[in-house]
């Protein structure tokens, strides 16, 4: 799949396996693995079309183990130009 965005990144050294990210994800794209969350969005996401990459997983993570990097653009046209 050709995509210019990346899945949330996990720093396993910070993850405490609390599972808050799994609870927070509205599209069930997160599963808890042995060493941290595993993201499989959008392929495994039942609401792939509706997913707005809410980044709630990052927000609820108490240790900052999850990061969702994003670009900041003034418009869709700016984004197309940059990429």
């Amino acid at each position: 799949m050709n995509r210019t965005w990346t899945l949330p990144q996990v720093d396993e050294t910070r993850c405490t396996l609390c599972g808050l990210c799994v609870e927070a994800c509205s599209c069930q794209a997160v599963q808890l693995g042995e060493r941290g969350p595993i993201f499989a969005c959008p392929e495994a996401c039942v609401r792939a079309e509706a997913c707005d990459c809410c980044c709630l997983c990052e927000e609820v993570c108490p240790t900052g183990a999850i990061t969702c990097a994003f670009e900041i653009v003034g418009s869709e046209q700016d984004y197309t130009k940059r990429n």
Partner: protein, 221 residues
């Protein structure tokens, strides 16, 4: 890369010096290369030299005892750091690390002070640079002391949308380090902006959809 009169003259502080003066300085300049992520120096370290960026990008930042980081600036080719401690003899004001592979020219403090004393063509740009820094840091103080996180984040989003700065992809933690707050506040405020229709969050991007509204937030109105 060999240090020559020509490469040295490309640094703004030395651009007004003639070749003879530059030739005198060249033997006192050392080159250092740093890989991405490498720590160049630490806040509080004794200052041994002034650093000039020839290639690449560095980040200057201060860190609290609790580990909270505040980014002061990103500096690119032609810019310098370590100037204040080199002049006042105190320790380094901030930590510096390489964002990309970076090449630095390094001039020992004593020699740099001698250059400033002997060449007014260098002293004037140094003073202009320090004056600009006082202005910039006054704005930072105003921002941190007088504006809310909401206002600071709105300003940051507008500035990045207008003039994107490296790195192009931001995390909430990095933004927090820039605007003097914590990751959770950035997340909450972004969500509030999205709920108000000021921005739209999409995969891998935040799009400013109501610029005027965000500008109102940025002015604290």
């Amino acid at each position: 890369m060999t240090i020559t009169v020509q490469t040295l003259s490309q640094l703004p502080f030395f651009a007004r010096l003639d070749d003879d003066a530059l030739r005198e300085i060249v033997p006192h300049v050392h080159e250092r290369t740093c890989s991405r992520g490498q720590v160049v120096l630490l806040e509080g370290d004794p200052c041994q030299a002034v650093y000039f960026i020839v290639r690449g990008l560095v980040r200057t930042h201060r860190t609290s005892l609790e580990g909270r980081e505040h980014v002061l600036a990103y500096l690119g080719p032609g810019e310098s750091f370590g100037l204040v401690p080199a002049l006042d003899g105190g320790p380094h004001l901030s930590s510096v690390d390489a964002v990309t592979g970076t090449t630095l020219y390094i001039i020992p403090c004593e020699h740099f002070r001698r250059i400033v004393r002997e060449h007014h063509e260098v002293a004037l740009p140094v003073l202009e640079h320090l004056a600009a820094e006082v202005r910039r840091l006054s704005d930072v103080v105003e921002d941190l002391a007088l504006h809310t996180v909401r206002t600071r984040l709105a300003r940051f989003l507008l500035a990045q949308a207008e003039h994107p700065q490296l790195p192009h992809r931001w995390t909430q933690e990095e933004i927090a380090a820039h605007i003097g707050t914590v990751r959770e506040m950035v997340g909450r405020t972004l969500r509030a902006f999205a709920a108000s229709g000021l921005i739209r969050r999409q995969r891998g991007r935040v799009v400013v959809v109501d610029r005027e509204g965000l500008e109102r937030e940025a002015t604290g109105r």
